[in-house]
């Protein structure tokens, strides 16, 4: 099967690779470009652990074709911190002990990041809605909800 070239910006850096026409973005990120932040959880768009931003919008990388991201900006949880400085969501997740096994955390952070970008001061219900496509089997969700609300309330929070 002939491979197709794809050029995209990944967390601000220009990257290029060759992909199969039917290859999901998740495979390209993990196996092609070596960004292991998005995880494989179901391959069916039902668990949210592969959530990434494509041009700022949350997308499920397992259901997104890599070729469809040609020329677009893909952001993963790997790019959430600004160098050594953590994003307010990251510090809030830490403060609220909002991760146990950590497998859903990159997708959860990315979903929350998209929420705060659009809605800097969400209500609890809006937070619940924003992460309702992200499954966590460990925490019971409450610490995650509290962490996102706390990040939104943090003074001088960087929103992007």
């Amino acid at each position: 099967m002939a491979k197709l070239p794809v050029q995209l910006r990944l967390n601000g850096a220009d990257r290029a690779t060759f992909v199969d026409p039917a290859e999901p973005l998740l495979t390209t990120l993990r196996r092609g470009l070596g960004d292991f932040a998005p995880k494989y959880g179901c391959g069916q768009g039902t668990c949210g652990v592969c959530t990434v931003l494509v041009d700022g919008e949350p997308q499920l990388a397992c259901l997104t074709l890599a070729v469809a991201c040609d020329g677009r900006h893909v952001e993963t949880a790997s790019g959430l911190a600004d160098g050594p400085d953590m994003h307010p969501l990251q510090t809030a997740f830490m403060a609220h002990f909002a991760a146990q096994c950590g497998f859903c955390t990159p997708g959860m952070l990315t979903a929350a990041r998209a929420l705060l970008a659009h809605n800097p001061h969400p209500t609890r219900e809006e937070v619940v809605e924003a992460i309702s496509g992200n499954i966590c089997r460990c925490t019971g969700y409450e610490p995650i909800i509290l962490a996102i609300l706390a990040a939104a309330a943090a003074p001088g929070a960087r929103r992007a």
Binding site: T46, Q100, C101, V128, I131, G140, Y141, A152, A153
Partner: protein, 355 residues
């Protein structure tokens, strides 16, 4: 066409570790030349916090700051044998092995410090902040860092320790079931408040209130993680989850998260936990282990609350709307049971949400 509230409770205990013993754990600890310690285990951290629990236990036993200890659980080439992370055995079994290893390493550390200070090692104490000094004479001191450097480069000592913990395997009598099972048991009691819709059969968990006795709490926030996440799982087991909805008929097996139901972030209930600490005589600093038991009381408490609300006993899990509606029909209507107690004495944690 009405919503009926009900309240139920359950109380349980739980054995810590493989029930019959026979499940060893081993740990190795060594120091860098500057007195920073690595704990090598083959135990598994699957979210329960094995690394951090081991780290705090090692730091406490060594008498050094927690930042001076890192735990590696990754590798069969470096971590000695351990049975594994299951049966709520991690904190108890591995915690004790880590204590054993840390005590040995501490012994060498104090011997090396004694040689530098020209005192008897038995007279030395640690301050938990990186210093070793003579008991009652804080000025006669040496840092852990200087001690480690002297031990390695001057005295030729290895500051290291090895530890194993094993509860020997118990036999079981065929005719009476006599055995020596676990020595450490944790305890819990949980109250569930539910609302049952008599038209749809849907159950909403309104709140849960519990008390857990877990021996020594090694890290309160991590205990909270286990108990809150475990209560969610208990609620999920009670009301939602099954791969075989008409068991033992194997049909209708769910294949994905669209078909296998679990409560989402919008379905969770406010939950208050009180933790009691009655130290286990053989636990690490008296610790037991909260991980496995924390779903258990939720299932019967919810079942009992549903009965209290509408008078239907559902004895087959999960408690689906179908089973509740069939029960109400068989009873000729809802039969609410006597109310129990009043409003809870706690409030959901206030969350600062900007207007």
């Amino acid at each position: 066409m009405a919503r009926h509230e009900g309240r139920g409770m359950a109380s349980v205990n739980y054995p810590i570790g493989m029930n019959l013993g026979g499940d060893p754990s081993q740990a190795l600890i060594h120091s860098n030349p500057d007195g920073k310690f690595t704990v090598a285990l083959s135990a598994i951290d699957l979210g329960q916090g094995m690394k951090q629990v081991s780290r705090q236990i090692a730091a406490e036993t060594l008498g050094v700051p927690v930042e001076d200890v890192y735990v590696d659980t990754a590798d069969s080439d470096t971590g000695p044998h351990d049975m594994g992370s299951f049966a709520s055995r991690g904190t108890h079994r591995m915690g004790n092995a880590v204590i054993a290893a840390a005590r040995e390493a501490r012994g060498v550390l104090l011997e090396a410090a004694a040689e530098e200070l020209e005192v008897n090692a038995a007279d030395l104490v640690t301050d938990g902040r990186g210093n070793i000094h003579v008991r009652g004479a804080p000025t006669r001191s040496i840092t852990v860092k200087a001690t480690a450097q002297a031990a390695q480069f001057k005295q030729g000592r290895t500051i290291a320790g090895r530890g194993i913990f094993l509860l020997p395997l118990s036999a079981v009598d065929a005719e009476t079931g006599e055995m020596n099972p676990n020595t450490a048991f944790a305890h819990a009691c949980l109250v569930a408040d539910v609302a049952v819709d008599d038209e749809t059969g849907e159950v909403t968990v309104l709140r849960m209130t519990s008390a857990y006795e877990l021996g020594r709490v090694i890290n309160p926030r991590m205990v909270e993680q286990q108990l809150v996440g475990g209560a969610w799982m208990g609620m999920s087991h009670a009301l939602y989850e099954t791969p075989e909805p008409y068991y033992p008929d194997p049909a209708h097996g769910p294949r994905d998260f669209n078909e296998y139901l679990m409560p989402g972030p919008g379905d969770i209930a406010p939950y208050h936990v009180t933790v009691l600490e009655r130290p286990a005589p053989d636990g690490p600093f008296g610790g037991k282990g909260p991980g496995e038991m924390c779903a258990n009381p939720v299932l019967p408490a919810i079942a009992n609350a549903v009965y209290n609300a509408v008078g239907v006993r559902v004895d087959e899990l999960p408690i689906t709307p179908e089973k509740i509606l069939r029960g109400i029909k068989a009873n000729g209507g809802v039969r609410p049971q006597p109310r129990r107690g009043g409003a809870v004495t706690w409030r959901p944690r206030d969350v600062a949400v900007p207007a």
